[in-house]
Every structure is written in structure tokens, then in C-alpha cells.
Symmetry: none
Subunit: 210 residues, 4 copies
DNA sequence: TATGAATGAGATTTCATTCAT
DNA sequence: AATGAATGAAATCTCATTCAT
């Protein structure tokens, strides 16, 4: 039981991990179920006990990765904030988090490629798969919007249309950073970053209720 | 000569058009070369005289469609502007154009699906294919940035970092509208539109040099 | 287990056999994988579970056929030798075996066509495929040279450079018989046979150590 | 007229030459008509004005090359013979010629690959193509057997079954050298050469009428 | 004579998915 | 639960050859 559950969880993780490795090295399209299964050390048929298909697995994987990224971005920001003499403003926090994410994307382009421009979809779509019958459930992504909400509350800051702001920011950032990092179009990421930061501050400041 | 060239152009157009119909009805993935060719009334092999593969055709098609869309958006805006008693401001023009595009996207979701979130890539990447040897050349996409530049000049308005502004706006709009229209996430397009307009005005106004 | 193995062996044999039939009737080039598979009653994809491609299958088939031919030639020779009052000489044995093979070739030209001039390659190249991972193993070809060696030993005959002699004889015979049988060039096989026999005796006698 | 004929001959030569280059570099199978034509600087359709198909071209090419090889082998032998103090024997002449050919084969394996084991076919089959209607005729291969015949006559040597001897020798040599040079099976060419020479002398001596 | 656009049959191969064991 | 043999649809793309110009 416990053991069996353990075993199952391990298999699932193993499949996810080997898929992750293959997607970020040889690419999603070129990765086959056989590849994923054999690298995970299970039979091809076993794959289907854990995932519906390659696409479903990718979705779960992206959500997981995006979630992890956001968690570490927030953690890093909090650590940074704690180190400052003065408390930092909310727009600063936003910019910090975003800078952190951009750096991660720039360092790890295969992941950026994998996530594509689907970050907002990860955050604003419910985890359907988690409730799928017969599927092993997983922690699920953090509720990023709630996290931000809490942060704002703690800072006694109110933001208009928070969900829409978040959505807009995330799509804007995800999309532009994707293009700038992967294609250098129309400018490279280093050149684009200050411009993007200015835009973010503009939108955030505008949303802060006086 | 003239006849052959004519014929070739017609074949190419025919292929593009049948691809367009298939992509927007049964979807890109499910469309096969055989489908495209047979619907265009040519042999499968003929397809390869005009396009490298399905992906190349899609790229050309998207550019073409995006180009057409922008052309008609601008035309519509000019017509509208001409009808007004007072000259309209630059941010108004931006908003008008974008509203126009959103409406087209909303009306014609298959095209939105096809264009995906690649609009900025269409506008900021050079047309390599147009110069491809042995390929039939086509008009090429309008230079949208130049168009805007001319418009600003005529209005005696200067905008800081125009290219970056355009890029940011386009990616932001394309991405958010895609999500809002196709998934209704996190809100439907009607609800999102005013919010988006506010964001656009904010960014444009900020970029206008006093 | 036993059942599955059985089944696999049968499928492989079935594929080989249907390939054999097709190669010898409509020819190697005109035979398609689809033909082979459908005649064997398996799916096209299944073919690829057993063989790398058409060429690999042909090689294995040729080796198998050549092997079978040599086995029956030797057996026939031994039977014949046993019937004689006097023991027959080693050159006689060679000539007998070769005559036997020539008759088979003459009777069954499609096989000759299939084997082409590659007989020595069948005998002197190691069976790599037999050990191929994931492949169903098969008996493998008889070691013809060893067989001859044993024969000579039993007859207390020593032959200089046996391997080279065998190689030279086989290539000479295979090549000339191929041309004589299939093209009648420069003479038909019946006319050529006595000449060839004389050549064989010459080379064999020269190699026998006194 | 003369000019047109010239032009045609040149085109044909050009096609043959570009085919030769392609066959010996990327291989016969991988060479396409398009490749041959484009390298020869003519249109694809033009190819068919000169040759029936790739196979026909190959045959003509092989004959041509084989012819050239034999011509230069004989010339070299005669030059060598002239340099010797004593006249050399007929078997020596055979061995010289064959050694010359082996060296050429060893030096230029792509040609050996191209000729395959078809040398005797080149020499003993009539040039059908030369008489093909509407085809440009070419010098045709030297009649090797006649050449040898003349040589023997000049040396006052009579050989039994000359045609069969030549055929047997050529097939034997072509086949064994092909295997030894290209595969080193069962031994490399250097090791095999002396053995082959002995065989040749044996067969030639046996055929010389006393 | 020369061209090269068009043809379209056809070959190979992959791979997600199923299902008997 | 796990396996992996079998499936067979499907897809791409090539290439010899024709024929209108």
C-alpha cells in the first residue's frame, strides 16, 4: 500500500523527469513515448497508466516547472527584501520577481522553449488533470495570484483589477521575453530589460489605489 | 513566359488558399500535404515546387494574413479618422487599430489560432522566403513600423523607442487577446477590452515626447 | 513466453519466406515492404520489428539460401561417394559439389539472380546480424570451409592456402556461372561446364600437397 | 551541322562526365537525373535526349571506363616489354596486365565499385546502345579478345579456348579483386596478389598449346 | 533542340496506442 | 500493475519521366 503508492509516485516522477530531460534536449516534437518510457526504465505500455498522452504529460510538466520557478522567484525576492535596510515598494517587488524570472529564462532556454508563451495559461487555468480519475494527484501549482494578494495585503497596498493586471503582465512579459531571448528580435534581452521594467512599473503604479 | 509565370503564380495562390481553408477548418496538425494539394487541384509533388514543407507554407500564410489584417486595420482607422469632426489623437488611433484587430480576431477564431502568438514575429522578422531562390516572389508584408512612423510624423508626434513600444504592445495584445478570446481566461474578451485599452493608452502616452 | 517466442519465430520465418517468393518472382527491386508484410499476413510496422530494412532481409535470406544449398550439395556428394565402389578423389568431390550447385543454379535462375555474385561474401563474412540485439536468432550458416577441412582430413589430403583456394574457386565459379546461365555469355552453361571443371581440377590439384 | 554535331557530342560527354563524378563520389543509387543534368549544365529533359535512363548511362559509362582501363593496361605492358632485354613470355604479359589493373582498382575504389563484378559483361556483350536509333554513337570499346589474339599471334603462341580462358580469368580476377580490395575478405589485396598470379599462370600455361 | 514545370505513384518509416499475457 | 509485441494509419518527400512551350 504505502509501498505501492510510493512505487507509483516514483514511476510517475521518473517519467516526468525523463520527459523533462528529453524535451529540453532533443525537443518536444522529436521525443517519443518510447524514449520517455525507456529512459524512465519502464515499458511503453506503462506510460499510459500514468499519462493520457505526450501532450498531457507536457502540460503537467510545464505547470510543475512554472510553479517551481515562481516559488523560487518569490522566495528570492523575500530574501532580498529582508536584506534591505528600507522596505522595498510593491513595484520594486514586481520588478525583482520578473528580473529573476527573466534571468532564469535567459540561462535556461530549453525551458523557455518548453513553456513557450503559455505561462498565463499555467497560472489561470485550473488543474483538470489533478482530478482525473485513476490519476495520481500531485501537489499542484501554487496559487500565484493568492500569493501576490497576500503580499499586497501585508504591505497595505490595494491594487485595482489585480487578476487582470497579473494576467496582462504575465502575458506581456512571457511573450516579449520569449522573443527577445530566443530570437533577439527586435532587440536582445539585455537591451530590452530596462524598457520592460519601465512598462511594468507604469502598469503597476497605475493599478495601485491611492 | 508571361503565361508560365501567370500559371505559377496562380498555382501558388491556389495552394496558399486551400491551405488557409484547411488550416482554419480542420486545423494545422490535421491538414496533410495531400489534402492541400488535392484541394488546390495539383499533384502532391507540385506542392514541393512551391513550398519547402507545411511549416514553411504556414509561415508565409501567417505573414500574408497578418499583413492583410494590418493593412485593413489601418485603412479602417484612416477612414474613421476622416469622418470625425476633430482630428483624433495618436493614442486614439492606436486604440482604434487594436480594437479593429481584436474584433477581427474575435470574429474569426480559426485565424487567431493559426496566427497563435506569433504576430510580432511576423512583423519584426525579415521575409527570408521572399528571396528564396526558385521561389515565386510575393508582395511581402507591409512595413508596419514604417507606417506608424509616417503617421506620427504627419501628426507631429514623437515617440520614444518606437520599435520597442510597438513590439511590446503587439506581444502584449496578441498574447492576452489570444487567451481571452480562445479560452475566456481569465475573463472574456469583452470584459478585458477596456482594461487592455487603458494599458495601451498608458504605455503610448508614456512614450510620447512632450 | 514459449508461446510468444514461438510466435515471433514464426512471424520471422513467414516474412523471410514471403520475401523469398517475391524476390524470386517479381524481383528484389520491385518488391515492396508492403508486399512482403501483407503476403506474410502481418502489418507493415511489424516488418520493422524483425528486420532493419529490405536490404538487411535480403542479406539474411541470401545467407540462409546459400547455406542450405551448400548443405544439400555436400550431402548429395557424400551420398554419391558412398555409392561408388572405389573412394573418389578430392578433386572429384569438388567437381561433384560444384556440378551440383551449377545444376541448382541452372534450374532455379531467380535464386541465382538473388544471390548474384555474392556467394563468397556469404561464406567469408561473419554473421553479424545473428547477434543483433533484439533480433530473433537463427541457426546461422554452416561453416563451409570447416566442412571442407574435415573432409580433407578424413581423406588425408593437405591443401595449401585452403581459404584462398576456396575463395578463388567460389568467386570464379559464381561469377562465370552467373554470366553463363543468365546471359549465355560468352557461351551457355552446358558448353562452359567442362571447361570450368578442367579449371577447377587444375587449381585443386596444384594446391594438393604431395 | 559540324557545329551542331560538336555541340551534341559535347553535351553527351558532359553528361557522362558529370555522372561519372557523381557515381564515384556519392554513389550510383544516390545520384539523381537532376543531379547529373544540373552538374552538366543542361535541363533535366535534355538528359533524355541522350540517354534512356540512369541505368543505360551507367552501362555506357562502365564500358567506356573499362575500355580505357584495358587500353592503358595494354599500352603499359607493351612499353614495359619493350624495355626488357629479353622478350617476356605470354603468361608474364597476362600477369603484367592484370597487376596493372589491380593497382588501378586499388587506387581508385569508387571505379571498382562502379564496375562491380561486371567486367566480363562489358567485354563479352555487344554494344547494343551504339546502334540505338537517334542516339549519338561513340567509338565503342576496344575488342579486347582480338587484341590478345593479335598479341598471341605475334608471339607465335596458340591458346586453346581463348574466349573461355579470357572469360574465366576476367570473372575470376574481377570478382576476387573486388572482394579483396573493397572488403579485405578473406584477405587484403596485397596478400592475395601472389596467390592470384599463381592461379593465372596455371590456367594460362595449361591453355598454351605445345 | 532544349527547357523545366508538372506529375503522382510509391517507398519507407515512425509512432501512439491497444491488448493479450 | 506491468509488459512489449503488434498494429496500421499516416505522413513526408523523392524522382523518373512527360510534354507544352
Amino acid at each position: 500500500m504505502g509501498k505501492i503508492e510510493q512505487n507509483k509516485k516514483q514511476k510517475r516522477t521518473s517519467l516526468l523527469f525523463s520527459a523533462y530531460e528529453l524535451f529540453t534536449t532533443i525537443g518536444f516534437d522529436k521525443t517519443t513515448i518510447r524514449d520517455i518510457a525507456s529512459r524512465a526504465g519502464v515499458a511503453k505500455g506503462t506510460f499510459y497508466l500514468y499519462f493520457d498522452d505526450k501532450y498531457s504529460l507536457r502540460d503537467q510538466l510545464i505547470r510543475h516547472i512554472a510553479s517551481q520557478l515562481l516559488i523560487s522567484a518569490c522566495a528570492s525576492m523575500e530574501e532580498y527584501a529582508a536584506q534591505q535596510a528600507e522596505p522595498i515598494t510593491v513595484p520594486d517587488k514586481f520588478v525583482y520577481i520578473i528580473d529573476y524570472l527573466i534571468d532564469r529564462a535567459d540561462e535556461n532556454r530549453p525551458i523557455l522553449k518548453l513553456i513557450n508563451k503559455d505561462l498565463s495559461w499555467c497560472l489561470f487555468t485550473d488543474d483538470i488533470y489533478a482530478a482525473a480519475p485513476g490519476r495520481i494527484d500531485e501537489p499542484g501549482s501554487i496559487d500565484f495570484v493568492s500569493y501576490i494578494l497576500n503580499m499586497l495585503e501585508a504591505d497595505h497596498v490595494e491594487i485595482r483589477d489585480l487578476r487582470l493586471l497579473m494576467f496582462t503582465l504575465i502575458d506581456m512579459i512571457n511573450s516579449t521575453v520569449y522573443d527577445a531571448v530566443l530570437f533577439g528580435e527586435p532587440v536582445g534581452i539585455e537591451e530590452y530589460k530596462p524598457y520592460l521594467n519601465r512598462c511594468i512599473r507604469l502598469l503597476v503604479n497605475d493599478a495601485i489605489e491611492e
